[in-house]
């Protein structure tokens, strides 16, 4: 499987789990290990990507520049990657400095139904000597024909790959296989898949994506990521070497996961009753603390609240809506 690339989001999605306290020292230590592993790229930054440090979604302990510089200095073989959401990041303020710092892979991300917002950013990057991917976040919130339409938009702007993010950890292996194969059958583009572990299916979903021809597979050491965490990178490698003759050595990936485990023993994500409920409902699992607090305050069942949040198609960044929805339920 030499055309299959492992994509390490530990230092970006994992920053959600660390509440954006990631330090350039840890980035350096981790990247030195990752560079020996054969992992294709390491993504670095705030959980919501370039330029996202804010009161709204959380302030980073260190600047994008400090984190990216630490990574750049430690990566020789592995590519340096960033996640970037238009609306948080702008070309001038964020993408241009990241280009100057030597970032190799740019992932421009939008909510799954809003790909047209990425046009200028993808077009700008496609004209530079870098790799550009389009990312569709919360990709379960649209039907397959809608997904194909949005993926085609990103391709038309110049993205060489489209990455499907299961941001809520909602998909089963069958869902993943249907979506990846639909894109592969419809048009020529690299497909990537980014799993979350709410239903304990992260690694299984990643394998399902590989089976249908996805060639960019996201994972995080120890699953360090938002909510219930991502697919564990070391386990994708372990299972992948058996199932797909993945030519990666497990040893080095275990060094990386051990580094995470030893550095952040109390930050490691796990599935909980709340993350299972949010995964089943298909709602961004980062809302768990608010859902718990508001449900307790109002004497409301958390599962009922998650379901109603799902039926209102709540997306990330709508913390202020949860209380309104709970109040509506109480008034029924």
């Amino acid at each position: 499987m030499s055309n299959m690339h492992l994509y390490d989001v530990t230092l970006r999605d994992g920053n959600h789990a660390l509440r954006h306290t990631l330090s350039s020292q840890f980035v350096k230590n981790y990247c030195e290990q990752a560079d020996k592993s054969g992992v294709w790229a390491v993504e670095v930054g705030h959980g919501n990507g370039l330029g996202a440090s804010s009161y709204l979604v959380g302030k980073s302990a260190e600047s994008d520049e400090a984190l990216l510089t630490a990574a750049r200095n430690s990566l020789k073989n592995t590519k340096l990657a960033v996640h970037s959401i238009p609306g948080f990041a702008t070309i001038k303020r964020d993408l241009v400095p990241a280009l100057d710092l030597g970032v190799d892979v740019f992932r421009v991300a939008t909510h799954v139904s809003e790909a047209d917002v990425s046009k200028k950013h993808i077009e700008f990057l496609a004209n530079k000597d870098v790799i550009v991917h389009g990312v569709l976040m919360m990709s379960h919130m649209i039907d397959i024909s809608g997904l194909l339409y949005q993926a085609k938009l990103m391709k038309s702007y110049g993205a060489s790959a489209v990455i499907l993010m299961d941001s809520a950890g909602y998909f089963t292996p069958i869902d993943v296989s249907e979506r990846v194969s639909a894109i592969k059958n419809e048009f020529e583009i690299e497909v990537g898949f980014h799993a979350h572990n709410n239903l304990g299916l992260g690694v299984g979903n990643a394998l399902s994506a590989i089976q249908q021809g996805a060639s960019l597979i996201d994972g995080a050491s120890m699953g360090l990521g938002a909510g219930a965490g991502n697919a564990q990178l070391e386990n994708i490698v372990a299972a992948g070497t058996r199932e797909f003759s993945l030519d990666s050595e497990i040893y080095q990936f275990l060094q990386m996961s051990k580094l995470v485990e030893d550095s952040y023993p109390d930050k490691l994500p796990r599935t909980t009753s709340s993350s299972t409920q949010s995964g089943l409902a298909g709602v961004f699992s980062g809302y768990a603390p608010q859902v718990k607090a508001i449900s307790e305050e109002m004497g409301l069942d958390t599962n009922t609240l998650w379901k109603e949040m799902a039926s209102r198609k709540l997306v990330a960044g709508q913390e202020s809506m949860i209380r309104e929805i709970a109040q509506d339920l109480m008034n029924l």
Binding site: S54, T90, V117, K120
Partner: protein, 303 residues
Amino acid sequence: MNDLKRIRVAIIGTGNIGTDLCYRMLRDPRFEVVALVGRRADSPGLQMFNNQLEHLISTGIDGLAPFLDEIEGAFDATSAFDHKVHWERLADSRKWMMDLTPSKIGRPIVPVLLGKIPSMTLQEDVSSNYSMVTCGGQSSAPLVYAISSNSVGIKEVEISSSIAALSAGPATRLNIDQYIDSTEALSSLISGCKNVKAILVLNPAEPPVMMRTTVNISVESCDVDQAKISAHSIIAEVQRYVPGYELVVEPHLQSQNTISATVKVTGAGYVLPEYAGNLDIINSAAVETAVLHAAAFRNMVNK
């Protein structure tokens, strides 16, 4: 219809913004809408106003040229690129323009801040160009003013807005960086702080969400009680021209030395649906500015 007291205007652009402006001004006794200007005869925006105004023009700015004597000014709801062309064409004809595009040609204006900020004054020239900046700018500016005018040592200003995805038109989607730059420049102008950040989240939730804007300002010190009083009073002033503008979270200490407050904007529901408060506030600001400008300078126009 040649009531000299009414402000005679043209509206350029027949999309959501242009048609909403036309609809509301046709019902506003302060205005006479002389022309609506589109670029296609089959434009649904033009057809919506069949037999309702003197000139329905489908040939763009060229089509408006013969009727310039009949208007005092124009509202431009096209695009930043087109606005530049339109402004150049009108430059010699002594008309004011209310720019609803993000072109940044005109002077930024938030009607409620006239006279409160030194740089925000009516332009003493007939051929004036006013920029309505952005929805995030219009909705955050009163809060930024209320908090920063009661603070010392402003270190950082952050404006985050979420709007219904359905209310974000193609121009906003394509030019999201321009939106951010313009919103940041306005916040900087009002607060005097260079360290500003604007964030825009497009929200596809159903039913569509009302526009919400949250302001976070980091300061050395702030008289929070006074900021609350200022916020309530300035919001009441804005409500005179944007009835759906409300303070949902009063200025309060969010964390050490950070003051936060939130407003919600519900649209008036003319042509645009109620959830499109982001578009409503821009149109309301343009109408209010036109009234104020015309009141101050129409004597010059009529000479």
